[in-house]
Amino acid sequence: MGKLGETGLAATAGPARTLGMEGECRASQARSWGLPAGGAGGESPGGDAPLSGSISSSALLQAEVLDLDEDEDDLEVFSKDASLMDMNSFSPLMPTSPLSMINQVKFEDEPDLKDLFITVDEPESHVTTIETFITYRIITKTSRGEFDSSEFEVRRRYQDFLWLKEKLEEAHPTLVIPPLPEKFIVKGMVERFNDDFIETRRKALHRFLNRVADHPTLTFNEEFKIFLTAQAWEFSSHKKQGPGLLSRMGQSVRAVALSMRGVKSRPEEFMEMNNFIEIFSQKINLIDKISQRIYKEEREYLDEMKEYGPIHILWSASEEDLADTLKSVASCIDKCCKATEKRMSGFSEALLPVVHEYVLYSEMLMLTEEIGKLEDKVECANNALKADWERWKQNMQNDIKSAFTNMAEENILYYEQQDVSFTEH
């Protein structure tokens, strides 16, 4: 099914999606980014709705694009639900047939679209004489014919993900490949086996695979399939092969493609896009830094608050008339602490990873710009990606901000209770 065709030339993906080049590129990409990869809850919201707005700004209105309009509300609704879904909802404990999963994940979009579900979990530490490393379990469930079975379970380590990414980049030099989490965290403790670090990485790897799966072209990449399905020895021997036949073919195809299309010189658009990417990258980096800083400040605030409450209890021990009042103030402060903790976890679960992801994306894009020159595909990918990720991010921020307002509301509730009890005395 068009595996060889999966090069940068023509994103003529599966039959269901062949709609003609430009439109297909936008529409299908729109759909794919809009869908959360099976239960990848918090990162997802299918902000496709306004995407149709951006599409209409380019003069291509395909029937499929209009279809999306009808689905707008459904997707919006779904996105809210999705954000509440647990990332690990596809754990083996739940019913496992892909079809039943489609039904469970109640999105009202094109029903046959999602046929590949991937989860990354269970990090495990392996110690050998040479090194220690972590592997992650990857479970794939699919209804696709080209897969030999409907379920696969493999273990991969970070190096393997890097390999996959390289392969994808080789095979599709003009597409935007989803980012991987960084090798190390430069600032803070460089503790590779720290629990938080492992968890953050696991989530990012999960997102990575799902984005590849959702991408209309990348999802049919052969190396991707091998990554998901090959058992340990099979996989390592495959990796050892030099640039395989496929990638060699890919390279020559790419060379042909370049010579055929030539470098279209659209200097103004190129400059504009370049400018945008540069500024965007700057800003998103700042936002990343600011968000991390806010998290840090909140943590310190929380630490102080934790000491603040108990003092009132201590005081109440030496008072008679004031004891009750003091105790209620103390309990309010404690509730405030809990609300703050909730807010912080919401922040770190949802906003921080997404912002960071886009930092990586933008870095990648800067490079892509330089390497790829301006090809139609890149532009197309960029536009769709750009419009979409902004939706995505905005919805994400939305959720975070509502977490804030929730926190504030909770605070109010507690303090109001407090007020009532005070005035009662």
Binding site: I290, L314, W315, T325, C332, Q394, Q397
Partner: protein
């Protein structure tokens, strides 16, 4: 010094202004200080109108002088404290500088509060020196010093000595001392942590302000998202700015707690006075008992206690019966005097305990009332802070959803 003819018709006292001044101090060196304007108005009952009767300028050191005077002349009263001399419990944004306008403003309020407390105290308000403090600008310092109150003040050493050696202080005062120690320690701890919490909260809010700047810059390159980002950024700025007022209000709460922190010291002063009085009494009783015993020994001829007289008698020979008679007579007189003194000291002591305890009860009620109100107002402040937060974030959320 009290004068019953100090009219008790309703008066309003306010410390309305503060002014920086320069002058020459005792060592003839130039110094800068702040002077505070005290205005006194009397309220006519008939029409409720207030008339400015007095207005004069005083500096902090004069307030201190007044308070020290009150401490000496009313040792059984829990004398209201002055606002802090130097800024303590500051967090990073607050200045520790005495000349800082915010500090001066808060001190102005504190001084006004002090005067109002004295004026509303049933006993202190009648004091002449207090009246003169409000009305007589020049010469007041000399008048106070002329009372000689500094001489009457108990020395610190004497007080310390009494604290260690007193045998039978009233139990209630012991408890009160413990209470005031606990109160002081818990309030200072609370104020310290509160200052740290304020510092952190300030940080959280202000960092959000950076969002505002970045959003605004970012919105310049965005098409669809531009407006939403811009307005969201504006809300972030509002959020970041709102913390200043919030924390200023909280400082007032902190000041209310500080007053009671300093009240703890006033409580301890009363306890110390009691210990002194009690110790005085015990010493007098001891002396009297010793004299009585001496007298008895002389009269009966038995020497049970070691005395210098006894030793010298042994060394230099017995005294004559006349000499002995003379000594007995002297001792008997001393004993009589002593008994009188003891009686009056006893009376004094009991009076002191009674009066002091009455004022302490009054103080307890005042404290419970004031602190409860302060805690409630703190809760109200938090509620308003939360409401503001909700509003800002709801607005921001709207902007985000429109992007």
């Amino acid at each position: 010094m009290t004068e019953n003819n100090f009219s008790l018709k309703k008066i309003e006292i306010s410390v309305s202004e503060a002014e920086k001044r320069t002058g020459r101090n005792a060592m003839n060196m130039q110094e800068t200080y702040t002077a505070y304007l005290i205005e006194t108005r009397s309220v006519e009952h008939s029409d409720g109108q207030s008339v400015l009767t007095d207005s004069l300028w005083r500096r902090y050191s004069e307030f201190e002088l007044l308070r020290n005077y009150l401490l000496v002349y009313y040792p059984h009263i829990v004398v209201p404290p002055l606002p802090e001399k130097r800024a303590e419990f500051v967090w990073h944004k607050l200045s520790a500088d005495n000349m800082d306008p915010d500090f001066v403003e808060r001190r102005r309020i504190g001084l006004e509060n002090f005067l109002l407390r004295v004026a509303s105290h049933p006993i202190l308000c009648r004091d002449k020196i207090f009246y003169l403090f409000l009305t007589q600008e020049g010469n007041w310092k000399e008048t106070v010093n002329e009372t000689g109150f500094q001489l009457k003040a108990d020395s610190r050493l004497k007080a310390l000595n009494a604290t260690f050696r007193v045998k039978n202080p009233d139990k209630r005062f012991i408890e009160l001392k413990h209470y005031s120690d606990e109160l002081q320690s818990v309030i200072s701890h609370l104020l310290r942590v509160r200052a740290r919490v304020a510092d952190r909260l300030y940080g959280v809010y202000k960092v959000h302000g950076n969002y505002g700047r970045v959003f605004s810059e970012w919105s310049a390159i965005e098409k669809e998202m531009g407006d939403g980002l811009q307005s969201a950024g504006h809300h972030m700025d509002v959020y970041a700015a709102s913390i200043d007022d919030i924390l200023e209000d909280e400082e007032h709460y902190a000041d209310q707690l500080k007053e009671y922190l300093f009240y703890a010291e006033a409580l301890r002063a009363v306890c110390r006075k009691h210990e002194l009085t009690q110790y005085d009494l015990e010493t007098a009783a001891q002396d009297l008992a010793a004299k009585k015993q001496q007298c008895e020994e002389l009269a009966t001829g038995t020497v049970r206690t070691f005395s210098l007289k006894g030793m010298t008698t042994k060394l230099f020979g017995q005294e004559t019966p006349e000499q002995r008679e003379a000594r007995i007579k002297m001792l008997e007189e001393q004993i009589k005097e002593g008994e009188q003194q003891l009686k009056s000291k006893n009376l004094e002591g009991r009076e002191f305990v009674k009066n002091a305890w009455a004022d302490i009860e009054r103080f307890k009620e005042q404290k419970n009332h004031d602190l409860k109100e302060a805690l409630i107002s703190y809760a109200v402040m938090q509620i308003s802070m939360c409401k503001k937060g909700i509003q800002v974030w709801t607005n921001a959320k709207e902007c985000f959803s429109k992007m």
